[in-house]
């Protein structure tokens, strides 16, 4: 039998008393909350499992049933073993921090000033050049991998952080992010500023860089911060570019470093060191998220598609 879902509920509810209808509505709300709660639990559970496992004594780290909260016998054994091992986890951490910070500063500076120029200044071929840059949105980094590697080798930058810093610094691209993304985002923002702001600066005879630095940049603060958080996180998380370009243990960043110490899974103690290393790697992102959660979510929700 064919049931028409768009008719039945209306007819059915029309026949019921208001009290019954209110109860059904409450029940439905409760059901939605329960389903959402279950979903949220599924999202959080892997992280919870990771943190508690990293604090369990190594010998019982992987025993079942899984424990979801750290108990009285919490232990720092996994972390202690990780730090005492040959794995230079501190070095990986430092490399990741330096790399992500430098790429973020360079990328954000370059794309902000370019976005400003595309929004507010007049110069020849402006629109054609912007259109040309937009092409890079379509080019996956994987497509240019071979020439990029050969270029870096020719420049002598393979196995140097510069092989990843340089494209970021020039705003060409950051890991996982095309350069024009930042330019586009900042241009959109600068376009919304009223002309009068800049005319006042012109009357005062301020140079273009001064106008940019002392009027445009302070107003763009929240947008610059949001862009910085995105670029920092993506660089911190990236595995692909460091895999190709950074090979020696001295140069490795966390994602590649973790892959290098990972054993095929067994019950060996090495695996609980991996869990500890992953926990440490996720920590900075988690901290940023806990501090700036509402703000990050709001900026994503507002940025939207329509921009």
């Amino acid at each position: 039998m064919h049931i028409s879902w768009d008719m039945t509920p209306v007819r059915l509810s029309a026949r019921l008393s208001p009290e019954t209808r209110a109860m059904i509505s409450r029940l439905r709300t409760a059901l939605i909350y329960a389903v959402l709660g279950l979903g949220a639990l599924v999202m959080v559970a892997p992280f919870l499992w990771m943190f508690t496992t990293s604090f369990r004594p190594v010998a019982e780290a992987f025993t079942l049933p899984p424990r979801w909260l750290p108990g009285l016998n919490s232990s720092l054994e996994s972390y202690r073993r990780l730090l005492a091992s040959d794995v230079p986890i501190g070095r990986f951490f430092w490399n990741s921090t330096v790399l992500a910070t430098t790429v973020t500063l360079g990328y954000v500076a370059t794309t902000t000033i370019a976005g400003y120029a595309f929004a507010r200044l007049r110069f020849p071929f402006k629109n054609a050049l912007f259109a040309l840059l937009l092409v890079s949105l379509m080019v996956p980094i994987q497509t240019t991998l071979v020439p990029l590697f050969l270029l870096m080798r020719w420049l002598g930058l393979v196995d140097s952080q510069w092989s990843i810093i340089l494209p970021g610094l020039t705003g060409a691209f950051a890991p996982g992010m095309s350069g024009v993304f930042g330019i586009f985002l900042m241009r959109q923002f600068f376009l919304t500023l009223p002309k009068e702001l800049f005319e006042a600066a012109r009357v005062d005879n301020a140079g273009h860089f001064r106008t940019f630095w002392s009027i445009a940049v302070p107003l763009a603060g929240p947008h610059i911060a949001a862009l910085s958080v995105i670029i920092f996180t993506m660089t911190w998380n990236d595995y692909f570019m460091p895999l190709i370009f950074l090979n020696s243990v001295d140069q490795m960043v966390l994602p590649v470093g973790i892959m290098s110490i990972r054993d095929p899974v067994g019950n060996s103690s090495a695996t609980s060191e991996v869990i500890a290393a992953v926990s440490l790697s996720i920590l900075p992102v988690l901290l940023v998220f806990v501090v700036a959660q509402r703000w990050i979510i709001d900026s994503f929700v507002r940025a939207g598609v329509k921009g």
Binding site: L64, I113, P140, V146, H208, F209, Y239, T271, A303
Partner: protein
């Protein structure tokens, strides 16, 4: 040069415009140089390399279309492309479908704190590196010591070989991908929802429309530009799947879960066949361009703009 062009050129660099022209060009110079050196140049070079045989050690030699002919006969390439398409279809459908449903369910009137808590929980995995979460999930997916099979066992389901069976390997990668990325789709869809006028919903309520009917007849059509955007971005992203497979299955068993980008990487940096890797890279670029072109064509036709 024509007179008008002369005038325009003179205009750009006339005394009153010169400063602005110079500033503008200086401001975009780093980005433009970066684009030329690290994006456009390598792009052109990829095309050139795709016509060469080059192993990094001896000098490259021109081979014409041989690499592309080899692609036609390469069974592994087609297998890998099929895997990637399979992954893309289900991961994208899961991410966008679930993302939109979550956004709608969370867009109702509820306590702001609860709403933020839910959104935060769903969104957080999108911020964490794929390598990191994939390492966690690799433990969860284990047959004997894995948490997932433990709970399935409690309800009487036999242990599943999530990663080591050819039938399940790709599905495990899809599950991880949806878990990781659904929150991002949810947030973008939320942004889209908030731009829909409340009047439509008020009218629907007056008409006594059921919530399912309201969803299909009001929310989905009005959200279609956002949905289309999500479908495009997710599809392009899905064709680049790499990290999660490296960690979970390493492409196996056999080639059961190997992806296109893994294959490019292996051809280029393990077999040192840079020409062939470049040729396959162009295949990836072609797919990306086609998906984008479809997005443009469709957005004129069926996406509903207010």
């Amino acid at each position: 040069m024509t007179k008008t062009a002369n005038n325009a050129a003179a205009g750009w660099f006339s005394p009153q415009n010169r400063k602005e022209t110079v500033a503008g060009l200086l401001f975009i110079a780093p980005a433009l140089i970066g684009f030329a050196v690290f994006v456009a140049g390598p792009m052109v070079a990829t095309v050139v390399f795709s016509l060469m045989k080059y192993d990094l050690f001896s000098s490259p030699s021109f081979v014409g279309l041989a690499n592309f002919e080899a692609m036609l006969d390469d069974r592994r390439l087609w297998k890998v492309l099929g895997n990637t398409a399979f992954f893309a279809v289900f991961a994208v459908a899961g991410n966008v479908g679930l993302g939109v449903v979550l956004a709608v369910l969370l867009n109702r009137n509820m306590s702001k704190t609860v709403q933020y808590a839910y959104r935060a929980a769903f969104f957080f995995p999108s911020l964490v590196g794929l390598i990191f979460v994939a390492v966690i999930w690799q433990f969860l997916f284990q047959r004997d010591i894995g948490v997932i099979n433990y709970y399935l066992g409690l309800v009487g389901i036999e242990p599943v070989r999530w990663l080591s069976s050819a039938r399940n390997a790709l599905w495990s990668v899809i599950i991880l991908d949806i878990w990781k990325n659904v929150g991002f789709a949810m947030l973008i869809a939320t942004a889209g929802l908030q731009s829909i006028s409340k009047d439509y919903y008020d009218a629907a309520r007056v008409d006594g429309s059921s919530s399912l009917r309201t969803f299909w007849q009001i929310t989905v059509p009005l959200l279609s530009p956002t949905i289309l955007f999500l479908l495009t971005m997710n599809t392009i992203g899905a064709f680049k799947v790499f990290e999660s497979i490296i960690v979970l299955t390493n492409g196996g068993p056999g080639d059961a879960s190997r992806s296109l980008v893994m294959y490019i990487y292996e051809q280029g940096f393990k077999s040192f066949d840079m020409g062939y890797a470049s040729a396959i890279s162009l295949l990836l670029l072609t797919i990306t361009v086609i998906v984008t072109a479809i997005q443009f064509a469709l957005s004129k036709r069926w996406a509903f703009y207010e």
